[in-house]
Structures are given as structure tokens and as C-alpha cells.
């Protein structure tokens, strides 16, 4: 009896486990097919208090930066640093932030302005594996480097090993 229950539980766990590694949207993102309309679950205040505080400017904010649907992630490809010991715009302890990046232009749902987002990678430790997320609004092929999220941007760092990606607002896009 126990054994058969265990099998069920393992099957379920494995499913849950992989889902945890790769949010369903994230997995679809990795695999290429985008999903729209997934509900964004706001973080509880207690959880937020436990997290690393992002270095935010005075940009109006909405949404959960640990989900792929968050507005700044419109052209990201990788593991969200918010799920890896970093935050939306800081790297996890012991990693190094790449000084060069690819750039996206994302619409903030609060003020409806287009912001320039720099997706600086965090480098020097194994891939975090959590919160895989890929969205390709404005993404262009690898021969157009500043707009390409297919490139491993751990460049100019001590190690090219990729850990996770941030989404740092560096400007407002001029129309």
C-alpha cells in the first residue's frame, strides 16, 4: 500500500518539482510558446519583508517580480534573480553583474510609459534554475547583439558562467 502511494506521490512531486523550477509560463517561454493571461499572485507583505529589497527608483510599480508576467521582463531570457537570492535589479551574493547587456523596451502598466530595461546577467555561479522566463518583445537575432537575448551576456566578467538575469530600468524610451 505504502509503495503504490509513494509512486503516486513521486509522480506528483516530480511534476510539481519541475513546475517549481520552471514556472509554466517560464517553461513555455524556454520552449518558445508564450502564454497570456496567467494570473499574477501578489506577494504577501510578510514574504516581501523577508526578501532582498530591490534598489528601486521612483518608477511606479505593479506586479510580482518573481513571475514571468511582470512588466519589466518583456524581453528577458533566463532565470529571474528575484528567485535566486538577488532581486529584480540586484545580483545574488557571490555573483558578478555583467557590465554589458541587451536592452528591452517595456511598457509600465501603471503610467503606460515605455521604459528602457537593461537585462544585466549575474555571473560566476551555476545556473540558478528557478523561475525560468523567456519573452521576446523586440528581441532580434544574435547578429544584432544589443537587442538579442539569445546571447549569454556574461561577458567582461571573471567567468562566463550564467547564474540569473536582472531587469534594471535605465531610462524612459523616446517615442
Amino acid at each position: 500500500m505504502r509503495e503504490s502511494n509513494l509512486i503516486d506521490r513521486i509522480t506528483e512531486r516530480v511534476s510539481r518539482g519541475f513546475a517549481r523550477h520552471t514556472s509554466r509560463r517560464g517553461l513555455l517561454g524556454l520552449l518558445g510558446a508564450g502564454v497570456v493571461g496567467a494570473a499574477s499572485v501578489p506577494l504577501l507583505p510578510v514574504a516581501r519583508a523577508d526578501q532582498h529589497q530591490p534598489q528601486k527608483s521612483d518608477i511606479p510599480e505593479a506586479g510580482d517580480d518573481t513571475t514571468c508576467e511582470y512588466w519589466r521582463y518583456c524581453a528577458i531570457d533566463g532565470f529571474l534573480c528575484s528567485c535566486c537570492g538577488g532581486s529584480v535589479n540586484t545580483c545574488p551574493p557571490g555573483t558578478e553583474m555583467s557590465p554589458i547587456t541587451w536592452i528591452g523596451t517595456c511598457t509600465n502598466p501603471v503610467d503606460n510609459k515605455n521604459y528602457v530595461v537593461s537585462y544585466n546577467d549575474c555571473c560566476g555561479k551555476s545556473g540558478c534554475g528557478n523561475c525560468m522566463c523567456n519573452r521576446n518583445e523586440g528581441d532580434r537575432p544574435m547578429y544584432n547583439p544589443p537587442k538579442s537575448n539569445d546571447i549569454n551576456w556574461c561577458l567582461g566578467t571573471q567567468s562566463a558562467v550564467y547564474n540569473c538575469s536582472t531587469a534594471i530600468v535605465v531610462g524612459i524610451a523616446v517615442e
Binding site: L31, G32, I100, R140, I151, S159, V161
Partner: protein
């Protein structure tokens, strides 16, 4: 008595000695029993059946442990499909020289693994029958890493040279002499990316401004001179994909919106030909999308992975159908409805044994017969993220 200072050779002998002592003991006790031989290693045929495939598992969640699996896609179960494996470290590139009959894994190591240290980039050479390393060439530690693009490396001048695209972000191509197994030098490709071999001893790169840069090599693999095309496509509004269907000396590049840009690569100077559409005007919602979105089979037919919900940002989303073209005529000849949503295309086999391999959205690899498109099975190789499939044909 333990001896921790023993030399490796001595230790090896001691180990062997202990093993054989144990076996001798067992055998003396059981004179009638013949133990099975120890130490046997499997080998593969030096010439693979032409329907086999090399499945490149990029191991996206553990990038230092990528693998290129040798697989029989028509065998019935895992044990019979899985023929062997080459390791492929840090989102490696793969090439195979059919005349030289060698596999090449272009890969990266760090002296302290995923925490860094000294970086070493190498071209690792594998013998197809033993899958053992038969040589390696150290190259500058500049190779591009990222999502897989077949033209990140290329075989130039037949199989004399291997070109490896570098991005630091300075752009260049490392030239490796495969005959002498040595690094030749770097060719600068400022503003341009990749290695698309053309003509006798040239290769072409795709430039961010929508032009092509063609580098011509001397017989020793050094740069002779270079030439640049006029603007051939709109790199921002309708860029070409990095991967082309190459047939009859022409590289057919799909664009994001679903046009095809033919580039004649048969001569030392490339010739850009007129674009044509994959879709009719009524079908513009269909756009190519995925990882490797374009390929050809041994008969020269072109295959494009098509998404019915095409639009800005869908170019990596994969597709529901594979559309088949007479590339020379620019005419669609068939539509294959995929059993599972597809992300990346490969083909293998010849004649009636041609197969289409489609990495699906669930990271399985689906096998279809060509030209009919009949679904055969989903491979059971254990690969975690098999982004690219290469035919043995």
C-alpha cells in the same frame, strides 16, 4: 599495509592484482564455472546508418554537462535508441565532417567548474566508432555562448578548416586547420556574426546593418581579403533568422514575417536573390518560429516550422505545422501537421528512409517519415533539453 605515497602506476598494478586475486579465488572454488569477461567496451560502426541522428542536449539547467547523443530514431525503446554519448561542456557547438569521419564538439571548460577560474576553449575531436577523444585543438577563449545556432561554427574549404564564431563582444572567427589539427588564427568580422561557408575557401557573416560580410581565406587559412554586400534585409523590422535551409548552393533564410531571402553561396562572392513569401497574402498570420526553424532533407526539399499565431515576439515560439517547399521554385509542396507543438527541426536519412525530427514543446524529440509526414514515435533518450538534432546522412 597501506601506502599512500605509492605512484599511480604502482597503485594501478596493486588494484589489478587485487581484482585478479579475488577472481582467482572465486574460480578456484568453482572450477566448472566460466566467469563473464570484464572490461568490454562497446563500439559503433565507423559508418553510421544514414537514418541515425546526433541529439544535442544543451542541458540548459546544468550547462557544464551538455551531451551529444548518438541515437537510432527508429529503434523501439530507450536501450536500443541510445547508442552512445559525447560530453559537450557549456552550451557547446557541434559539427561533423563526413569525409574525415569525425565529430567535433566546440566547448568550454573552467579550471574551477561553474565557479570559474581559468577558461579553456577547445575543439574536441571524436572518432565515430569508439566515441573516444581522438584529439583536441585549443582555440582562443572567445567562442560565443548562448542559445544554439548552427552557423556559430562552419566547415570551410570542404572539410579543411573549421570556423568558430567569437563574441567578446568583439566579433571574429577562429580558424582551425582540421587536417593538421591546429589553430590557424582569427579573422575579424566587426559588426557581423557567424560562419556560413561559401565558394571554395570563403565564409560569410550576417551583419547588424542588414548586409553580408564575406571573408576569403588563403590556402593556409589566413585572411586574404573581404567583401561586403549591399543592404539585403531590414535587420530591425523584418530580420532574417540565423538559420537557413541550404540546398543546391543556395542558403534560404526565412525572415520573421515569413519571407525567404535566397543567398547564392556556391561561389566566392555571394549573390543575394529576390525574396519570396512562404505564405499567401491570406496566410500572413502564419510565421516561422522556433529554435532551428529551417532545414532541408537529403532530397533538397525545404522545411519551415510555422506558427498560426505569428506576430511581434513570436519568433521563438515554435509552430504547429511544418511547411515543405520546392526551394528552387519557391513553391509549397506540402503541409505537415505536427502531433506535438514543435520548437526545432532536423532531418536525417536518404531516399525513402528520410525522417523529420522535431524537438517538441515538452522537450521530447518526435520522429516523422518523409516525404509523407507520418508520425513514428517520440524518442526516449533521456535528453533534458534536446535543442538541436543532426542527421547522420
Amino acid at each position: 599495509m597501506d601506502n599512500t605515497d605509492q605512484t599511480p602506476t604502482l597503485r594501478r598494478r596493486l588494484i589489478a592484482g587485487c581484482t585478479w586475486l579475488l577472481l582467482a579465488f572465486i574460480q578456484s572454488a568453482l572450477a566448472e564455472f566460466q566467469p563473464e569477461p570484464v572490461g568490454k567496451i562497446e563500439t559503433l560502426p565507423a559508418a553510421y546508418p544514414d537514418h541515425w541522428v546526433m541529439v544535442h542536449d544543451f542541458s540548459f539547467f546544468h550547462m557544464m554537462e551538455g551531451e551529444v547523443l548518438v541515437v537510432d530514431p527508429l529503434a523501439e525503446n530507450q536501450a536500443s535508441q541510445y547508442k552512445g554519448m559525447m560530453t559537450a561542456s557549456f552550451i557547446a557547438a557541434y559539427q561533423r565532417a563526413r569525409e574525415r569521419n569525425e565529430h567535433y564538439v566546440i566547448e568550454t571548460f573552467y579550471s574551477r567548474g561553474t565557479r570559474g577560474g581559468e577558461r579553456t576553449d577547445v575543439v574536441t575531436i571524436y572518432a565515430p566508432d569508439t566515441l573516444a577523444v581522438s584529439g583536441e585543438v585549443v582555440i582562443p577563449s572567445k567562442r560565443i555562448t548562448g542559445m544554439p545556432k548552427q552557423i556559430a561554427t562552419g566547415l570551410i574549404n570542404g572539410e579543411r578548416f573549421l570556423g568558430v564564431y567569437n563574441f567578446t563582444p568583439a566579433q571574429s572567427v577562429s580558424i582551425v586547420d582540421l587536417e593538421n589539427r591546429q589553430f590557424v588564427g582569427e579573422v575579424t568580422t566587426a559588426g557581423c556574426a557567424f560562419v556560413l561557408p561559401n565558394g571554395v575557401r570563403s565564409f560569410t557573416s550576417i551583419c547588424a546593418n542588414g548586409t553580408f560580410l564575406t571573408s576569403h581565406l588563403n590556402a593556409d587559412g589566413t585572411l586574404k581579403d573581404a567583401s561586403r554586400s549591399a543592404v539585403a534585409f531590414d535587420a530591425n523590422n523584418d530580420p532574417i533568422f540565423e538559420g537557413a535551409a541550404i540546398s543546391g548552393g543556395v542558403a534560404y533564410f526565412p525572415t520573421f514575417t515569413g519571407q525567404v531571402l535566397p543567398v547564392d553561396i556556391s561561389r566566392d562572392e555571394i549573390a543575394v536573390e529576390d525574396k519570396w513569401w512562404l505564405t499567401t497574402t491570406d496566410e500572413r498570420n502564419w510565421r516561422p518560429g522556433g529554435m532551428n526553424v529551417a532545414t532541408v532533407d537529403a532530397a533538397g526539399a525545404g522545411y519551415f516550422l510555422m506558427n498560426p499565431d505569428g506576430g511581434e515576439g513570436t519568433h521563438k515560439d515554435g509552430g504547429a505545422e511544418v511547411w515543405v517547399y520546392d526551394l528552387d521554385q519557391g513553391e509549397r509542396t506540402a503541409r505537415i501537421t505536427l502531433t506535438n507543438w514543435g520548437l526545432s527541426l532536423g532531418t536525417t536519412g536518404t531516399g525513402d528512409g528520410r525522417l523529420l525530427l522535431v524537438t517538441n514543446a515538452e522537450m521530447g524529440v518526435d520522429v516523422y517519415r518523409l516525404p509523407g509526414g507520418e508520425f513514428v514515435q517520440t524518442l526516449d533518450t533521456g535528453a533534458a533539453t534536446p535543442f538541436m538534432v543532426h542527421g547522420a546522412n
